[in-house]
């Protein structure tokens, strides 16, 4: 498989299926690991950094901890390819922008990605659609087991897995659930969710993780505490305590909109559809915003002629790097907005 093959398909997590998929977009777990005997990246020489990248890359390609592993060398990759990987949630923004020897291994229909030389030597990630935290944990735990057969991970009996930043030490786990909460946003109750999450020591972030704003009513909720709890406890707190509550609030807010503010709801949804089907120039932020409204319309049965799979693909393919990859050339400004609008109209049967 080549990187260019990715543009023609949507990853597993965008299937739009999976439990609770009307509200839960995806479940993601990542593990931070470092290889013993090598300094962390801030204190690595160029030589050490190169040697580690090669060692980890060779190990991954030999062990194949997930099916059909593809390794992308990010030091040599063009900007558009790196951006494409960010848009597909396979690498972080800092990893795309960094310098020096680094890469990412992608496998199993894009559910698995292993970043090499990000903040830690390895950042293993599993991303699945809907609320599937237990399956995600089982999958990533297995990958971690396979890798530790060949890689001696830095570990201390008291501190656990040792990470570059002490906020990740111990389990090295970050469990994140991506939620679509348009109704709570519309009813103005979203702030309550933020406050409750903060009280429970959970982080709320935007679509692309750390340092990104919540756009299009997508919110990523994740644990902050990584020490003093087992992986299962951290997962269970989210799965059984926090996430069901938020889902329930969103359901109630949607029901309220549907029964008491039907016209206002339909107005938002139909306007979104109207613009998407007719616009000739459209920016990515506006697209995200309108697709978000359309999504809730589909979920609530107010729009019948667009399916969720098409919508999910639109979310993915209308992003800058995807559009440019699709057209095989650099597109900026109005040229990009025009191409985006054309693509959306073609997918939504616009005129």
């Amino acid at each position: 498989m080549k990187l260019s093959d990715l543009t023609n398909q949507a990853g597993e997590w965008l299937r739009g299926s999976g439990p609770m998929s009307e509200i839960v977009i995806s479940s993601r777990i990542r593990l931070a690991r470092n290889v013993s005997g090598y300094p962390f990246l801030s204190k690595s020489s160029r030589h050490q950094r190169n040697a580690l990248e090669k060692k980890v890359r060779d190990t991954i390609l030999t062990l194949q901890p997930a099916d059909h592993m593809l390794y992308v060398d990010l030091e040599d990759a063009p900007q558009v390819d790196r951006d494409l990987l960010v848009e597909r949630h396979l690498i972080s923004k800092p990893h795309a922008a960094a310098e020096g020897a680094r890469g990412v291994a992608i496998g199993e229909n894009e559910t698995v990605s292993i970043m090499v030389n990000e903040e830690d030597h390895l950042r293993i990630q599993v991303l699945r659609s809907g609320l599937q935290l237990e399956e995600t944990w089982a999958q990533i735990n297995k990958i971690d087991d396979v890798l530790e057969n060949k890689l001696d991970f830095a570990f201390h009996p008291r501190f656990g897995y040792l990470t570059a930043c002490p906020t990740n030490v111990g389990t090295g786990i970050r469990v994140s659930v991506m939620l679509h909460l348009p109704a709570l946003k519309l009813t103005g109750e979203i702030e309550k969710v933020f406050r409750a999450a903060k009280d429970l020591r959970l982080a709320v972030r935007g679509l692309y993780g750390e340092g990104t704003e919540a756009t299009g009513d997508f919110y990523q909720i994740s644990n902050q505490t990584t020490l003093g709890k087992t992986e299962e406890e951290i997962i269970n707190d989210l799965k059984h305590v926090v996430i069901p509550k938020i889902i329930d609030y969103e359901h109630q807010a949607r029901k309220m909109l549907l029964t008491e503010r039907t016209v206002a709801l339909d107005d938002k949804v139909q306007r979104a559809l109207g613009i998407l089907r007719t616009a000739r120039l459209i920016a990515s932020e506006e697209t995200l915003f309108l697709l978000s409204h359309l999504r809730v319309g589909i979920n609530l049965g107010r729009v019948k002629d667009v399916d969720i799979r098409t919508l999910n693909e639109l979310f993915l393919m209308t992003q800058p790097a995807h559009l440019q990859k699709m057209h095989g050339k650099k597109l900026e400004g109005d040229a990009r907005r025009a191409v985006r609008a054309d693509y959306i109209r073609s997918r939504l049967g616009g005129n």
Partner: protein, 165 residues
């Protein structure tokens, strides 16, 4: 100080560094809440804020130690506090005294790992079986403390000491 937006008493004071320029904002609670997601506007996610908070407080009692450098990677505690990133795996035991209170602040008062343990011999040289036991015991200890079973807690504490040698 008065709120910049409505003139009520300002209780939220925000300092933002944008392109190297310092911008200060003073708002009342209501205006701050309406100014959609201050934390996202400042491009500072919660865990970074937390890290900064922890870092700032973590160092107060540890001034004399700041010049001690890790014999493996050469990082000092002061350097770590600036960057927020450690230099190597040995920094954790090297800066144990400073690290433990910092970890407690960042991780809901915990300073002991109780999760997964590599099945291979850990790099610390401690046989994995032993560390597993210690981890399990520590969990039991936490439970004993929670249920106020102090007799059992004392027994477990001794066992943990033994297990860790």
């Amino acid at each position: 100080m008065k709120c910049e937006t409505c003139g009520k008493i300002a209780t939220v004071h925000l300092t933002e560094i944008k392109n190297g320029k310092k911008i200060e904002k003073h708002l009342c609670e209501q205006c701050a809440a309406q100014s959609e997601g201050l934390s996202t506007k400042s491009h500072m996610p919660i865990n970074e804020l937390l890290t900064n908070f922890v870092m700032n407080h973590g160092g107060l009692a540890t001034k004399p130690q700041e010049s001690v450098a890790c014999p493996h990677c050469g990082i000092t505690w002061a350097e770590f506090r600036q960057s927020g990133l450690l230099g190597c795996e040995h920094d954790y035991p090297t800066f144990d005294k400073e690290m433990t209170p910092l970890l407690k602040r960042a991780h809901e008062d915990a300073a002991h790992h109780v999760g997964k343990v590599p099945t291979r011999r850990g790099s610390s040289g401690v046989p994995v079986k032993r560390t597993l036991d210690a981890a399990r015991l520590r969990k039991e200890l936490a439970r004993a403390v929670e249920t106020e079973d102090y007799e059992r807690a004392a027994k477990l504490r001794d066992q943990i000491r033994q297990a860790e040698g």
